[in-house]
């Protein structure tokens, strides 16, 4: 085998090293390794940790839901697409959970935060929790989620926390591509046959009550001026995008009451739908059964 070999990139795996990984892509190290992760002066570190945890949890839980679609999609191309989107979101989750762990300063890394917190300690919005009932719900939820997250990350590129700004700067490019993909499917289904139109409309009606929470005031955001983005300020952009897509798709904007918080508490405060427990059971079971395992 020579260095010119196409497989030279893998050559080092066969060498005797300290590296005990068992396959390509395993043995993850800190994704923020080597980045200056000091919290800027004047920034509330505890609030920053909670904020990054929330944004990381949104991506982690939704990535897991998208992964559950793989092997169940109608075409190989959509499998690849959803796996890629889930991978992008998992990458964002790893960066944000790592940032949360550092800002918290209690020695918890991304794995500790992902696998060893209980339901009530998760801070994700409830939109990402339920399983999609069909492909139309998948397209509709992905459109709402990515339009919202893109607007949010667009604001965060100017965050006073340089790490959050850098994570957002990478994320906007990925999210713009996800939003386009979802919009294409919503238009194709909405402006398709009578059956696909009705099912897309029904899917939107089912998801819509969970969308209001995305723009809800958040006490943690208020403690992070210049660092976090005001959720209410994102509504105009998201509405503009959704209205444009719905018009092209000949779909009506659903009405209906938002899913209300419980005693004033919702996802960001750790109050979730029943669905989250099932997601966590699957996501965390291996790590909890073998807490010292590495992969």
């Amino acid at each position: 085998m020579t260095d010119d070999d196409d497989f030279a990139a893998y050559q080092f795996l066969a060498e005797e090293t300290e590296d005990h990984r068992w396959a390509f892509g395993t043995g993850f190290s800190d994704p923020l390794e080597g980045i200056d992760t000091s919290v800027p002066a004047g920034v509330d570190a505890a609030a920053l940790a909670t904020y990054c945890l929330a944004l990381g949890d949104d991506a982690l839980i939704y990535s897991h839901r998208l992964q559950q679609w793989v092997t169940r999609l109608p075409e190989l191309e959509e499998e690849t697409a959803l796996a890629n989107i889930a991978l992008d979101l998992l990458g964002q989750a790893r960066l944000l959970l790592s940032r949360a762990g550092q800002a918290e300063g209690a020695g918890r890394d991304e794995d500790r935060l992902a696998f060893f917190r209980t339901e009530g300690e998760f801070r994700n919005v409830r939109l990402v929790e339920p399983a999609d009932a069909d492909f139309a719900e998948l397209a509709g939820r992905l459109l709402i989620f990515s339009a919202w997250r893109l607007a949010l990350f667009g604001e965060l590129t100017g965050s006073a926390d340089p790490v959050v700004a850098a994570i957002a700067g990478k994320g906007v490019k990925e999210l713009a591509y996800h939003r386009d993909y979802a919009a294409q499917w919503v238009i194709r289904l909405g402006d398709g046959t009578a059956l696909s139109h009705d099912r897309m409309q029904a899917a939107l009606a089912a998801i819509w009550p969970l969308s209001d929470e995305l723009f809800r005031a958040d006490a943690v955001v208020a403690r992070l001026p210049g660092v976090a983005a005001d959720p209410a300020g994102l509504r105009a952009e998201v509405d503009g995008v959704l209205d444009a897509v719905l018009a092209a798709a000949t779909l009506d904007r659903p009405g209906g009451a938002p899913l209300a918080p419980v005693a004033g508490l919702a996802g960001r405060e750790g109050v979730h739908t029943e669905a989250l427990g099932y997601v966590l059971a699957e996501l965390q079971s291996v790590a909890r059964a073998y807490p010292d395992a590495t992969w």
């Binding site: 893998y10 390509f24 992008d88 790893r94 957002a168 990478k170």
Partner: protein, 181 residues
Amino acid sequence: MVTPGADDGVADGLEAAREIAGAVPDPELPMVTLADLGILRRVTAEDGRLVVTITPTYSGCPALAEIAHDLRYRLARAGFADVIVRTELAPAWSSDQITPEGRAKLRAAGLAPPNPAPPGPSRRSPGPVPLPLTMALPTFVACPRCGSLDTERTAAFGPTACTALFRCGTCREPFEYVKDL
């Protein structure tokens, strides 16, 4: 242990280290190197240690850990025992940073190199956002085999995070397109 002599040694070897680091092949696209892709940001000496700074193409890129291991392995073989690999997120990588040589290598391997990246949402003008449905726009991606512009995208996502699938209408061959990002 840090001694002035060791520091000088690393500093003297910087050119060689840059060459070795730049020549590391990408694990997902082995026909191009880190230097070709523009993901090698810099190679510097710090307190007698060699510091290699790289940037990921996508947030979830699983190749990053492989690249870091490969860098350490190749540099160790060349005598650089103490190597730190750093990740840099900002400024975010753009496919515009792929060198002309890298583009030529991609084309020679049957992959279409990326078009100029669209202005990102971070650089957008304020106010209500018009919907840029980039997928609906004509692509103007040239077939890497026959050069024809009569191509169509068959899938928005490909076998790696950075490629999409296309088909040429003239020579009928399918090919991968490195996404503009």
